[in-house]
């Protein structure tokens, strides 16, 4: 059973900047939901609120029964929410495998003592999760680079590592912040396929921030549009695409 995500009247301010003002929308379980809007509209801020990095000044975020807006980031992760970062935030010196293993942090238990003493159950746990990590890496076409330090990989590949790490958390709600930035059309298409097949295989909810409209149109079940921190539209991709406000603020006359 997956939960519904309800964002209810959320506001965030930074000094004079109203990054989000009374934003509300609902993400139905098992759908792919896109959030779009001009630069600085508050999309990443929204993700930061959803993942507990920023605290909303007002409003609520509910994921099923739990209140995400009251949690700290690591508790949000425990509630089954994982995300990627717009500006890649990986450990550059660590290998891809090590970075992915971090994704499994909240699924594993080993503490300082058990880890330091190298108790047998630590080894069992590690082996079991390493196998899953390899599986996910394979899925995101990272199988060949598992032992490469992330720092030397090209930008586009690092973006895939980000996505893989979030997947490794086995989330029920996956937040992707511009997953195809810096990819060419072909790479974008493959990423879109991947996202689709994640949803199909794992049956989870995905929220996506993206500027590549082709990708949004092809993937999203529903789209919410933000501008200057306010929701200016919400609907199916087709509805949104023809909304005059959205065209004026975001798409431009093409």
């Amino acid at each position: 059973m997956i939960d519904r995500l309800e964002v209810d009247d959320v506001s965030v301010r930074f000094g004079a900047v109203a990054a989000l003002s009374e934003v509300s929308f609902t993400v139905e379980p098992g759908t792919i939901h896109a959030v779009i809007g001009p630069n600085g509209a508050g999309k990443s801020t929204l993700f930061n609120v959803l993942s507990g990095v920023y605290r909303a000044a007002a409003g609520q975020v509910r994921f099923g029964e739990v209140r995400l807006d009251r949690m700290r980031p690591f508790q949000v992760a425990g509630a089954g929410v994982a995300r990627t970062f717009q500006n890649i935030a990986l450990s550059a010196h660590q290998t891809v495998a090590q970075n992915l293993m971090l994704g499994r942090h909240h699924l594993t238990r080993t503490g300082f003592l058990a880890g330091g003493l190298g108790l047998p159950r630590e080894g069992r746990e590690r082996r079991k999760h390493a196998a899953r990590v390899a599986e996910i890496a394979e899925f995101l076409e990272l199988g060949d680079v598992l032992t490469t330090p992330v720092g030397v990989l090209p930008y586009g590949v690092q973006k895939r590592v980000e996505a893989a790490r979030a997947l490794c958390a086995e989330p029920r709600l996956l937040l992707l912040d511009e997953p195809v930035a810096g990819m060419n059309a072909d790479e974008t298409r493959r990423m879109a396929d991947t996202v689709r097949s994640i949803r199909a295989a794992l049956d989870i909810t995905i929220v996506l921030v993206e500027h590549d409209m082709g990708m949004v149109m092809a993937l999203a079940d529903r789209v919410t549009v933000l501008d200057f921190g306010r929701r200016i539209a919400d609907g199916t991709p087709d509805e949104v695409q023809s909304d005059p406000d959205v065209i004026r603020a975001y798409l431009g006359a093409t």
Binding site: L90, Q94, E122, R126
Partner: protein, 368 residues
């Protein structure tokens, strides 16, 4: 084959007391003690990226705690050691909320306050610390077996006195500490700590309770420092607050950097280098060129040691950012290739290469 690489040095270390004299055994014991402290600092600095100059304070807690428990309270020395180590760990834990608030170099400088403040407290608290002059340290004993010169034991014609006994104690404790640190880094907490180092926000979003892990690593690191302090106390036989000043913290920093930040084997090598250098130079001053024995007109041994070790720090950071561990790795890498008869066509996988390290540093910053 890789097992052989461990067994030979292990045997050499075990039979050492049968071949070398007291000076070297004592030096060896001092190295073991320092190495444990360096391992602890490496967990903090190398693994978690927290710059702390307060290490000497935690050393002091261990050393003085042991002396107080075993001497003033008369507890069995092994218990006193355990409790002193725990106490040092708790001191680290108590410091961690401050550490959680400060970042980078601010943390480093703030931790200086612990060194100076700690010295002040320890100097004033004479009933426990013995004040400026310090107090003498009771001998260690384990299950009734004393680590002292008496009762006399002779093994295979070699007197098995305090220095021999301590050597094995140091070796055993160092091995334990090393394995603990290594396991820790390789397991789940290690991954989390490294993530905290690279980006606290990313780590917390992936489920790491950053505050708690910082507290945890401070606890472990200071407990290591505490154990190191106990061994220091045992090796000298007397502790005074004065012995745990800023310079000691700097020495530990030097061990970790010289050894190679983030490398546990490196920390041990670094500790050996920093600890032994002044002693050996002093001892063999007469045989060394340029260095004169005490009272001569040339470079005094103590000065020579300090020059060398300042120079070593600068050179290592400049030319071998991966430290002694990097050097060792490079050497091993090369010999391994020669043995296997493969030309090293992909040096690019050598993680110890300085250039690669540098290139990565840049990448790091791109992503911030």
């Amino acid at each position: 084959m890789s097992r052989l690489r461990w067994i030979l040095p292990a045997i050499a270390l075990l039979i050492l007391p049968f071949y070398v004299d007291e000076f070297w055994l004592r030096t060896g014991f001092a190295i073991c003690g320092a190495a444990i402290g360096a391992l602890g600092l490496n967990l903090l600095l190398g693994t978690t990226g927290q710059l702390s100059l307060a290490h000497s304070f935690f050393l002091a807690v261990g050393a003085i705690g042991y002396t107080y428990f075993a001497d003033s309270l008369g507890w069995p020395p092994a218990l006193a050691m355990l409790i002193a180590v725990g106490l040092a760990g708790l001191a680290g834990l108590a410091f961690s909320p401050l550490a959680a608030r400060l970042r980078g170099i601010y943390l480093g400088v703030a931790s200086l306050a612990l060194v100076f403040g700690g010295q002040h407290v320890l100097n004033s608290w004479t009933s426990v610390t013995g004040g400026f002059n310090g107090r003498s340290v009771p001998d260690f004993s384990l299950f009734g077996f004393p680590f002292a010169d008496t009762p006399r034991v002779v093994l295979l014609g070699v007197p098995f006195a305090e220095s021999e006994r301590l050597w094995y104690l140091g070796l055993a404790l160092l091995l334990g500490a090393f394995l603990f640190a290594r396991n820790l880094v390789r397991s789940r907490p290690g991954t989390a700590l490294q993530a905290v180092r690279d980006s606290e926000i990313a780590a917390s979003v992936m489920g790491v309770n950053v505050q708690r892990y910082k507290a945890g690593v401070f606890l472990v690191s200071s407990a290591f420092a505490g154990l190191s302090g106990v061994l220091y106390a045992l090796s000298i036989g007397s502790v005074a607050p004065e012995s745990f000043g800023l310079f000691v913290s700097i020495q530990y920093l030097a061990m970790v950097i010289l050894g190679g930040l983030g490398s546990l084997g490196g920390a041990v090598l670094g500790a050996a280098f920093v600890t032994a250098l002044p002693l050996v130079l002093q001892r063999y001053a007469d045989e060394l060129p340029l260095v004169t024995g005490a009272g001569g007109d040339g470079l005094a041994a103590g000065e020579a040691a300090r020059y060398l070790y300042g120079l070593a720090i600068v050179l290592v950071v400049l030319f071998q950012p991966a430290g002694l561990a990097g050097l060792a790795r490079r050497f091993r890498f090369r010999t391994a290739h020669v043995r296997r008869g493969t030309p090293d066509e992909n040096t690019s996988v050598d993680p110890g290469s300085g250039d690669r390290g540098r290139a990565l540093d840049d990448r790091d910053r791109v992503q911030q």
